[in-house]
Amino acid sequence: MQDRYPDASGFNVDKLQRHIGERLGLQSLTGVLGFERILTSPDISRPGLCLTGYTHKFLNHRVQIFGETEITMLSGMSPGKRRRALSNVFGFPVLCSIVSKGLEIPCELRDASLMAGSALFRSPRDTTPLIHDLTAFLSEVFAPQETMHGTLVDVFGEGVLCTGRSAIGKSEAVLGLVERGHRLIADDTVSVRRNGDTLVGSGDPVIGYHMELRGLGFVNVPELFGVGAVKERQQLDLVVLLVDADRMGEMDRSGLESMTTKILGLSIPLVEIPVLPGRNLTVLLEAAAMLNIRRKNTGSSTSEQLNRILLSKLEKRRGPE
């Protein structure tokens, strides 16, 4: 499991180059100059307007993308005018700049970057796809994140986060799921990121796919069950909370009360399963995942559909008033 999401805090130009430099074909023209500058936002900036002298609200703390428009404009200027235009931009502490499309870089742009101590890259990629890939990557880096106590498993494609108090049997239940061919993402500690309207969970790169099973110690899941038994990341679709049996008395039995829980501001369906001797948690977790898929496909739960049948029968029996 590699560290796919670097930490947003302290994410500098050096890390940008190391994580996505190869994919974007970034080639530094200024050595490691300005590599220590820290990114604070997933957004990018086009410096065109600033080059013309309109410096109001110039977003110098973002990655500057010099596309064909900017470079063509600069190339059409006299060297003196070009320097003045560039000084509008580099008068600010610019984070770093990327020239797209493998365009010829005016020497004044390199000089201005060197003077300002700001990194200058060239990329062979076209401007729009470059911006798209860069923002997509940075959005993931800067996505809101939360570490949760629980076990994340992919059950028939549904991301089920199994939670509950310590020692209630989360890992044991999930081990059963893995044994039945479902896939483990992370045991005990799950790092959840919000990507727009979805939540994506992944594990800790150090712990990897190890599980701790009381009495057996640590188990490396892909080693025992094969590489197909694990998965690097998974969207969260359902939270299953394992609860002690003494909570059972207060639980809704009609199945009509659907519960949700909030994670990073998003509502996720929640199911509470009481733990009792003789209840097979693995099979119950599998059924919970299947019911969640069914509810999404049909728009209503089995309990609601059964109750509709009962209600129409009751209405007929009551007769006209």
């Binding site: 039995r253 009609s254 199945g255 009509l256 059964l306 009751l314 209405e315 029996r317 009551r318």
Partner: protein, 91 residues
């Protein structure tokens, strides 16, 4: 053994939600709790049973309890039904 007959007071009758409330209350007691609609008698601690009864609003049902706490069980279950489950009542 204690029995009492009463009328289902809410308009919709004993559908899933009221059934769940009855079952929850009945399960609090050690006594056996049964409900009859005059045709079938079911175990009031089983939600499927109570739903099978299909007791419509205004119909008559008989509750019977049998066991060490039959008196309180009968009162408890009848109170839940007479409350109308917090739903719209029949006139």
């Amino acid at each position: 053994m204690k029995t009492r007959t009463l009328t289902v007071p809410n308009r919709l009758g004993i559908h899933a939600r009221p059934a769940a409330l009855i079952v929850r209350k009945a399960s609090e007691f050690r006594s056996e709790v049964f409900i009859s609609n005059g045709v079938d008698e079911i175990n009031a601690k089983s939600i499927m049973g109570v739903m099978t009864l299909a007791a419509a609003g205004g119909s008559r049902i008989t509750i019977s309890t049998d066991g060490p706490d039959e008196e309180t069980a009968l009162d408890g279950v009848c109170a839940v039904i007479e409350s109308g489950f917090g739903e719209e009542m029949l006139p």
